[in-house]
């Protein structure tokens, strides 16, 4: 019987160990580095992720990826997170860096993932070689994506309308019917898909509170598909193929539905799904370079259709005074030009303007609104004979006409008066005084008002919060000094009173003195002296001058209640009896009597200390 029980126990131990090993197996831990292998089915064309977690490392290098036959792999940007916990009353911070290795199998079959290595704090950690069974992907049959551009051929800087069309074959359940376009859109894995340049379009949808993009139904090989469209306008900055980024869409396509009973009614839920991924195919798009023929000298890269106005203020200035010249470029391009990158007219290259005005060389940033961009430049007239700010040309390339065009602003009449400031050095020389010049003429520097000063350096102060707050520490810092001073003032006041009134000090110390005398009392007479001394101290009488009768009279005069008076006189009488009784103060019996008297005296002193002693009746007495 016992042997069979032992056998069962051993079996249970083995099963427990095996269960632990199975639980730990997917997470191969190696020191502070953990490799987590993918879970679930893997499909061809659908990326899966292998996670590497690095915990509390001071130095780490990105993982080294081996060549994986039949798959492509890449490492995502590492993400570091911190967590805190209280352990044994101390805060412990943990920093975990997570690398995701995304592996996309090319075809179905058995895929070998060789060891992946990572160097952490000088030590190299390696994962174990793993095999993954890759199933055949079905993305193209029920899910695809393509990108169209209008027009398919554009110039650099010309608006290009791009549309991402996502096609999803609706899921049909034999029992519950076909899911609609809104339900199918919810199976698209929005956060884990890569949207390339269309990410901004999705953000816009979210900001507008729309759940899904514009959708329509399209017939493909006799089957209805839902087609979702996300549009985006770009202004290609360079020729060739436009850079649309990586567009890899993922979805969890349903494989079945089931009915679940709710509180009020039953509802349909997805009983299972399989992951799909589709890389968007891009229809031919070409970005052409701007022609070099006919390019005007002052061309600054504007592409579209524009007009320009110029204003200035003030219109009446002295020589050298600044005039704020505002140039407003108005966009008249049908689909809108890219005003963010629109550069201002090159004023420094404008010979007509440059000969009459001092112009800063700094480029202007400008302010863009819906359909216009405004540039403000500060210019200074050089002479008093200038009567106008000349017309300012602005050249652009018109993609519709396929040629360069130039618009000009109207000249702005201004009045320039001679400078009111005089050259002091010349006056001194004319008067025969000593010139302040030491070696040749001084250089006159004209400060350029346009342009921004450089950033402040990155220092720990940049991370501080310098806002004024009434925090707990501030309140404490405000409150503690007055409280401390108040306490010190009370202490000083009390001390001064004691210094001024010696009787007060004696009265204040009466209880402590009586207690000390009581503890020092060697016989009943000492106990009686302690009690009588207390009354003498309280009343300011000379020490040892009050008899038992005096005490009774004084206590009566000061309004001490009968009970306390009787207790005092009784105690003193007992003390007298003990003193004069034969052999009363010796031996063990005498010791017990003394202890009892001390105890009574302590009680009497306590009660006397706590009753109110009247002053007026005492004075009358």
């Amino acid at each position: 019987m016992r042997s069979s029980l032992n056998r069962v126990r051993k079996w249970l131990m083995c099963v427990a160990c095996l269960a632990c090993a199975l639980c730990v197996a997917p997470t191969a831990a190696a020191g502070d580095v953990r490799f987590q292998m993918p879970e679930g089915d893997v499909y061809a064309g659908v990326p899966f992720v292998l996670t590497i977690r690095v915990v509390d490392a001071s130095d780490r290098q990105p993982p080294k990826l081996p060549e994986i036959a039949g798959a492509t792999a890449r490492v995502s940007i590492p993400e570091t997170r911190s967590s805190s916990m209280i352990r044994n009353g101390r805060r412990v911070d943990t920093y975990t860096t997570r690398y995701e290795v995304e592996i996309t199998p090319d075809k179905a079959g058995r895929l070998e993932i060789p060891p992946i290595s990572i160097v952490v704090d000088g030590t190299e950690y390696k994962s174990q070689s793993t095999y993954v069974d890759v199933k055949k992907g079905e993305a193209g049959l029920v899910f695809d994506a393509e990108v169209f551009g209008t027009p398919p051929e554009v110039y650099i800087g010309q608006p290009l309308e791009l549309v991402l069309r996502i096609g999803i074959k609706p899921f049909r359940d034999p029992t519950y019917g076909t899911l609609n376009e809104s339900q199918m859109w919810h199976f698209v894995d929005l956060p884990n898909s890569e949207w390339g340049i269309f990410g901004a379009g999705l953000q816009r949808l979210a900001q507008e509170g729309r759940e899904m993009p514009r959708a329509q139904t399209e017939q493909r090989n006799g089957t209805a598909w839902y087609v979702y469209e996300i549009s985006r306008t770009i202004w290609p900055p360079k020729s060739g193929k436009p850079d649309l980024g990586n567009i890899l869409l993922r979805m969890k396509y349903p494989v079945g539905l089931r009915e679940v009973d709710g509180f009020f009614s039953s509802q349909l839920v997805v009983s299972g799904s399989r992951p799909l991924a589709a890389t968007a195919t891009v229809n031919p798009l070409t970005v052409l370079s701007l022609p070099s023929e006919g390019k005007p000298d002052g061309f600054t890269g504007a592409v579209g259709q524009f007009s320009m106005t110029a204003t200035a203020k003030p219109l009446s200035v002295a020589v050298g005074d600044p005039i704020s010249l505002t140039l407003t470029v108005i966009d008249r391009t049908p689909s809108g030009a890219n005003l963010d990158t629109l550069q201002p007219p090159d004023l420094a290259a404008n010979a007509g303007l440059k000969k009459d005005f001092r112009i800063p060389n700094e480029p202007l940033s400008g302010t863009a609104s819906t359909s216009r961009k405004t540039f403000v430049q500060s210019i200074r007239p050089l002479r008093a004979d200038i009567t106008a700010i000349p017309a300012i040309p602005f050249s652009y390339f018109d993609p519709a006409a396929r040629e360069y065009r130039t618009v000009t602003s109207d000249p702005i009449p201004i009045t320039v008066t001679p400078a009111s400031q005089m050259d002091l050095s010349r006056i001194e020389r004319a008067n025969g005084g000593e010139s302040t010049e030491t070696a040749g003429p001084t250089t006159h520097l004209t400060e350029v008002e346009a342009g921004l000063m450089a950033n402040k350096p990155v220092t720990p102060r940049l991370l501080a919060d310098e806002r004024l707050r009434l925090s707990t520490a501030t309140i404490a810092a405000l409150a503690v000094p007055p409280v401390a001073v108040g306490a010190a003032a009370l202490w000083r006041l009390n001390r001064s009173r004691h210094e001024r009134d010696s009787g007060l000090a004696r009265r204040s110390r009466a209880r402590r003195t009586a207690q000390r005398r009581l503890e020092e009392a060697a016989d009943a007479a000492g106990v009686a002296r302690a009690v009588a001394g207390f009354v003498e101290d309280r009343l300011g009488r000379a020490e040892g001058t009050m008899t038992r009768g005096d005490l009774h009279t004084a206590l009566t005069a000061h309004g001490v209640p009968d009970a306390e008076r009787t207790a005092v006189t009784g105690l003193l009488a007992d003390c007298d009896r003990a003193v004069y009784a034969a052999g009363g103060a010796t031996g063990a019996k005498g010791g017990e009597l003394l202890t009892a008297l001390r105890s009574r005296a302590a009680q009497v002193l306590d009660s006397l200390d706590h009753v109110a002693w009247s002053r007026s009746r005492g004075a009358a007495a």
Partner: protein, 288 residues
């Protein structure tokens, strides 16, 4: 012997004063409070993006603009995580300015102005930003009065005023404490009594004046919250709804500064620098 005792007393007083000033400075300067564990890394990245934007400005305007936007995003992330100080808002203002967001640039320069009003770089950049604003208004009414009164104390940086107020507070109470605990140290002779009264008067005066400016800043900020338009083509309306008629025929551009007179859900009644008022959506402006 007497000289030694005097020296000892003097050194104790000096140490107390130094302790008061140091503790005041420590109270005035706040510890880093950002919630972002990688804050320094974020700041470095923002700075690098800004410098890249400057490098590419003449050769590749599109990439330059993108870099400035990245810089602004990172600086903004730092500000959203709890950091708030002059250099941070100055850099954030620069990044917004370079990426063409004039309204947010001015808003951040104004925030930086509170803690470093005398910074010459800030003064210049704020002037450049303000000169780019399409609409300008003659200042008047209450705005001008408040600004002209508050201007004189804004000459002194905030941290200096905070440190001065705390120092005065600590010195005042320390001398009072000594008066009670060690009266002979700060009194006893007419010279010492006069010195004590002088120190008490000066420290109380400094605390009242400087602390008063700090208090006034808070009161003014609470009573007259300031803001800047950040959206383009903002149409001021006569009421808090799109159905109300426009208050003015012209729409206003980004960068126009205003004070908030009244707040209702989703809407602000703003007062322009010339005293005229109108309603805007709260998403069209940013509180400074």
């Amino acid at each position: 012997m007497r000289r030694m005792a005097m020296l000892l007393r003097f050194s104790v007083l000096l140490q107390l004063a130094v302790l008061a000033v140091f503790s005041a400075t420590a109270l005035g300067a706040q510890e880093p409070t950002t919630q972002d564990p990688n804050a320094l890394e974020t700041a470095t990245r923002a700075q690098s993006a800004y410098e890249r934007g400057i490098e590419l400005r003449r050769t590749d305007p599109a990439a330059s603009m993108q870099a400035f936007r990245e810089s602004a995003r990172d600086w903004q992330r730092l500000a959203d995580s709890g950091a708030s100080n002059g250099p941070l808002h100055f850099n954030l203002g620069n990044a917004y300015m370079q990426s063409g967001d004039l309204g947010r640039a001015i808003a951040n320069y104004l925030r930086a102005e509170r803690t470093m009003p005398d910074d010459p770089d800030l003064v210049k950049n704020l002037a450049v930003a303000r000169s780019s604003v399409q609409h300008s208004f003659a200042r008047g009414g209450g705005t001008l009065l408040v600004e002209s009164v508050a201007r004189w104390w804004h000459i002194v940086p905030l941290w200096v005023r905070q440190a001065a107020a705390w120092s005065a507070w600590c010195v005042f109470w320390a001398v009072l404490l000594l008066q009670f605990l060690a009266p002979k140290l700060v009194g006893g002779t007419s010279a010492r009594n006069s010195a004590r009264k002088l120190v008490l008067s000066i420290s109380l005066g400094v605390w009242c004046v400087v602390g008063g400016t700090l208090f006034a800043d808070q009161v003014i900020a609470a009573a007259r919250p300031q803001g800047v338009l950040v959206a383009a083509d903002v149409q001021l309306r006569k009421g808090n709804g799109d159905g109300f008629d426009p208050a003015f025929a012209e729409a206003l551009g980004p960068g126009v500064e205003f004070s908030i007179r009244e707040e209702r859900p989703g809407w602000w009644r703003i007062e322009l620098p010339d005293g005229r008022t109108g309603w805007i959506k709260d998403s069209q402006g940013e509180r400074t």
